[in-house]
Amino acid sequence: MEVASFVSVEAAIPDMDRPRDIRSTTREVITEYVTAAVVALYTVILLRMVLDWHGLFGSILIFLLVFLTVHYALVRQSTTKELATDRLTTTLIWSVGIIVVAILVWIFGFTALKGFKKFSWSFLTEDSRTASPLHDGGGVSQAIVGSLEQVGVAALVSVPISILTAVYLHELQGRLARPIRFIVEGLAGLPSIVAGLLIFTIWPKFAGVHAAAALGILMLPTVTRTSEEILRTVPDSLREAALALGAPQWRVVLRVVLPTAKSGLLTAAILGIARAIGETAPVLLTAFDTSIMNKNPFDGPQASLPTYAWANVRVPNQLQNDRAWSAALLLLMIVLVLFVLARAIGARGAKRLQGR
């Protein structure tokens, strides 16, 4: 009711307080950007022609430098030094952001372009038994199953251990917290091939679970560190509230801290999985590779998407190389889905914490 009357008052005196446009970009600003970009572009083209020079990254760098300089000079003409510097910083940050996004788009686009050719339903559902170097046919189902099983087992074992470690490090803060944190940090720098060699030395026999063991080792530091950061975001006031109600510490962790951090911990797990699913070297040493479907992770060599891509890209054959790119595209898509999932879950958790 009040809102309605408020609106009618505003309608009666339309010009009294129309909102001022304070956000949209003015014509001058756009002109400055366009002029700077055109000047930079011409400079680069001229340089390339005069010097007969074809480097892509050099061109981009020169373009950026000229663009920033010209833009700063243009802005400086019409405003103070402080404001011009401010604009320069803004432009610089935007440029860096655009470059990063461009690199990502380039990687994904390149893979998609090359991998799209052999992407089909049968590529997902058939194994490579019928795949010949000369004819179409066959798929990567054995690699999909292998990847999912290996990473699944790794996550099943590694994620609970990682979260428990994070709980020990941040909630219990026991005597061993410092050495354990040191070891976890060291583990984060462990070359993946070393993890593979370690497992291969212990079990010199190919099996999916051995790959899972190696991947689990590699996931552990990622998930532990991320989980610890997540636990850090749970406010101490909640722990105090729970303690003041007469809860022993294990119940505080189980009933209050972990449920509050649930979505964040899930994100941590997905980050670890995304890291593990792309590993090639340790998988090659522990599960090797095969063109035949092997659903049993406990016995015999097992394929996975990275090893499939590796095996097919190293041969001088166009058809097999195309298949490798398709597998790479599939891998990229799986990781992308995992990340989007992690972000979505994280956002939902944040919303609940805000109470909406």
Partner: protein, 284 residues
């Protein structure tokens, strides 16, 4: 309180295994007597030999300027002080004659019998309103026979029932600040404490919410002994019968109780000049 419907629980009262347990959750107000309480954070002494009687069915207010150790004293009363790693304590606190730092009570038993409401409302974000009320039972491993009526009873006592009865399954964080604080009071009441400690419960609230919380305090004062820390001297006068004035001489020295007694006397005719200066607003 106890789940008497299950056959294993049908024991006569005297056969309950732990001697200290029958009292737990009975919810009869108890007196708290602090004797020569001193406290340290590391090597820094923050409280010097504070003694205070907090009678059953009374509201005792702890007043004094910031940093004088009121909150530390309050946290010592339900053993929350020792949550901080470097914290140390001396002296004794007796709950109906039993030393809460002694062997007869565990830390968790002490905290169940002596509840606490904090300065900033802190409902559990991962729980609904109803779950928040019942959180204390879950967290202390106590089984309740009739959860729904317990939720209603505690929310009613905290003066929140009519506002939330239609949305008990919504998140605790969806409430306003004042409502959240009353939810925290309801949560504390659900474990049926004998004493309720309140650490500046209204300092994060607007005047209207403050009034509602104060009404809640007065309403529950018959069933539970209340000790409240407050910066607001009008509030101390409105809600408390007994009062203790804390003060630090200078920045280095620990806080002490300068004077304690009936609130009316402390505010109208205190024995100590410093108390008079503080309650009349000449400093602090």
């Amino acid at each position: 309180m106890w789940d008497i419907s299950s056959p294993t629980q049908e024991l006569p009262e005297q056969e309950v295994p732990h001697q200290t347990r029958p009292n737990l959750g009975s919810g009869t107000p108890a007196s708290l007597i602090a004797t020569d309480v001193s406290a340290w954070f590391g090597s820094r002494k923050v409280l010097q030999r504070c003694s205070l009687r907090m009678e059953a069915r009374q509201v005792t207010a702890l007043i004094g300027p910031s940093g004088c150790g009121k909150s530390t004293f309050l946290r010592i009363l339900n053993r929350m002080h020792e949550v901080i790693r470097v914290a140390k304590v001396a002296g004794s606190v007796e709950l109906d004659g039993v030393d809460i730092y002694g062997r007869d009570l565990s830390v968790t038993q002490v905290r169940m019998r002596i509840g606490m409401v904090f300065q900033k409302p802190n409902p559990f974000p991962a729980m609904s309103i109803a779950e928040n009320v019942l959180a204390g039972l879950k967290l202390s491993g106590t089984r309740a026979s009739d959860k729904e009526s317990l939720v209603e009873e505690c929310l009613t006592r905290a003066g929140l029932w009519t506002e939330v009865k239609d949305r008990l399954n919504e998140g605790g964080m969806s409430l306003s600040g004042g409502q959240q604080q009353r939810l925290c009071i309801a949560r504390s009441l659900a474990v049926r404490p004998q004493v309720l400690l309140m650490d500046e419960p209204c300092s994060a609230l607007d005047p209207i919410s403050t009034r509602v919380v104060e009404e809640t305090i007065q309403a529950i004062a018959d069933d539970v002994t209340i000790v409240i820390v407050t910066h607001n001297m009008q509030q101390a006068q409105r809600v408390s019968q007994e009062c203790a004035f804390f003060l630090v001489e200078d920045q280095r020295s620990p806080g002490r109780i300068v004077e304690s007694g009936p609130t009316a006397k402390l505010f109208s005719d205190p024995d100590d000049d410093r108390t008079l200066a503080y309650v009349t607003g000449r400093f602090g």
